[in-house]
Symmetry: C2
Subunit: 367 residues, 2 copies
């Protein structure tokens, strides 16, 4: 990666409230200053929840926690289980019990440092501890920078499926320090790009141009920064119109209906972005079958996802077990499942598809 000193700030508007997503490469005191300003002068303590794997791997975590301790009151660090393992009600119980043992009160704040799972866990813990305390997020993976920075969706998993228990809880600020990406495994970085491609297809074709200008996934830091900022802007625009997911916000679920089920059924062997890539392939296939997605659009999307290095080989993956998971997915309304289908880059349709049609399309043998 090349180095860059430019910083982009994307504002997220939510009714009377707003917060900023800061995207760039930052020194720890700058992050601490930004977070302190956003959390407010009356904050009484700060619990820093860190992804356990990241805490062991990244040299950036300890200096950041130290900078927070130098700038904010009663800063304590708690390392979560790494990744998806933190997304259980058991772990929420452990974290909130720790928060109580530390004596954090209603004017305390939670800062999450890690990927999407850490954002989900720390945001949900902040949402429910004492019925809600302040929250800020430092996403450290490309996926989390794009996906967890905007929307306020937090959740944990149940045996029955992913993200079935959660809350809407908006952060006071998000600081996406691209420096964390230096230690991110290549596979995770690639997976994170799935959400950027998604934003390109549902709302901002100019993001697709950046990929086209950097074939083979050879993206420098400036390109990454532009992709993250662009994707965050797409999400911010959509969420500003529809905070609680009644209408337009649903387009952000492009690729997620089947994607979530594939991810869960793989027991999370598939990364979220990989599952979303396959989920987009599924939605494109369904769109083609319904005459909504032109073959050229489907081909373009497949080619772009493959060029980025994401999986596009859907065949054989949508098993009866995956379909059963779609049946309890939280986006199922009544006996139909809501899909986001793509008519062109930047042009989507919300379509309710019956479980029968889905089964016929994805399990044609009737298995």
């Amino acid at each position: 990666m090349s180095s860059s000193s430019s910083t982009t700030v994307v504002g997220v508007e939510l009714g009377a409230r707003r917060y900023d997503v800061h995207i760039g490469t930052f020194v720890p005191p700058a992050i601490a200053e930004t977070l302190a300003a956003a959390l407010g002068p009356d904050v009484t303590g700060v619990a820093v929840l860190v992804d356990g794997d990241l805490g062991k791997r990244s040299p950036r975590v300890a200096p950041l926690v130290e900078a927070l301790q130098a700038r904010l009151p009663r800063v304590n660090r708690y390392d979560l289980p790494g990744g998806e393992a933190s997304k259980t009600l058991d772990e929420i119980g452990r974290t909130t019990q720790w928060l109580a043992e530390q004596g954090y009160d209603r004017r305390a704040a939670v800062i999450g440092i890690g990927g999407g799972a850490t954002g989900d866990h720390s945001g949900f813990a902040a949402a429910v501890y004492l019925r809600g305390v302040r929250f800020a997020l430092c996403p450290t993976t490309l996926l989390a920078m794009v996906d967890a920075s905007v929307g306020g969706k937090t959740a944990v998993d149940l045996p029955a499926g992913k993200n079935l228990v959660g809350a809407f809880h908006q952060p006071r600020a998000v600081v996406a320090d691209l420096g964390f990406l230096e230690t991110l495994p290549a596979r995770e970085q690639t997976a994170g790009l799935a959400e950027v491609v998604k934003c390109g297809f549902i709302a901002d074709p100019s993001l697709l141009a950046i990929f086209a200008a950097h074939p083979g996934g050879r993206l420098g830091l400036d390109a990454i920064a532009a992709l993250v900022a662009g994707a965050v802007r797409v999400k911010a625009d959509v969420v500003a119109e529809d905070e609680h997911e009644g209408g337009r916000r649903a387009i952000l679920n492009f690729g997620h209906t089947i994607g979530h089920a594939l991810e869960a059924e793989s027991a999370y062997a598939l990364l979220h972005g990989e599952a979303v890539s396959l989920g987009m392939i599924a939605a494109l296939s369904l769109g083609e079958a319904r005459g909504i997605t032109p073959p050229a659009v489907a081909m373009l999307a497949r080619a772009m996802l493959a060029d980025v290095g994401l999986p596009v080989d859907l065949e054989g993956r949508v098993t009866p077990a995956v379909m059963a998971r779609v049946g309890v997915d939280k986006k199922r309304a009544g006996k139909k499942v809501r899909f986001v289908l793509c008519a062109a880059a930047g042009d989507t349709r919300l379509v309710d598809v019956g479980l029968d049609e889905l089964t016929a399309h994805f399990l044609p043998s009737g298995a």
Copy 2:
């Protein structure tokens, strides 16, 4: 109890939303009709969460569930552990897993039937399942009719203390069927009156007149209905001004700061109302020491609570262990604890008391 056919409806206004609390003696189809109208015509299913002890004891539960099944789609019943045992994250995990296994989607609703613990559990489950589904409540204890009908506060307990994890989640309707009180143990009925006395002292002295007119706790159904309606009105007025407990709503915590700690430290051998009665005694004592509560007011309150049959013998109960619990109570802001003190019936003061002063007042030996 005498019988009564009168029904009182108290409206609760919360910004753009509002809902009604229906208080009276109802036949099951009437309750089902009221709940169906409040939950909306597009509801896709209804999960009825029942307090397990109530389910075994009360002949009113089964006919009510049958009436709901006759009126609403996909009504299934799930019996919770009885009472406070349901208020754990483990039980929330079990309930939400059951909701998912039944295939309830985002347009489903949860109806809670039971006392305060059931209201807390079912409301919190509704708040977090799929990040929030519709909720309605049938409180079956006097305490729950008064305390859980208004406010939208839901919570479960942690080892560190009571109600430390929760959410604000407003019901679509509350139906307080006084018929359930017929099978309520006398001790629980008496405990429920503590919250009514509290409403009398913080906001509506006319409630105290009803008690004064029925000495020795000999209250008929009409008096009970008037007390419940009056207390619900007090809470509705306060909450309408302050949904998220930043300001005036804090007066509802009269008696709760010490009360919650006593309740938790007793391992719930004390009923909530009994603990709140003792907590009011504690707040009156603190108010007297600070010169805020006139001795005559403290004496009146003690006499009224004792006449109702509630415990007032605080001596020896506020142990160091109880004080430690006050230290992690969710109402502690910084190093001080917020107390509601009473200057006269209907006239309260919010006072932040240092932990040192509290310890000196309640643990004068410095134990």
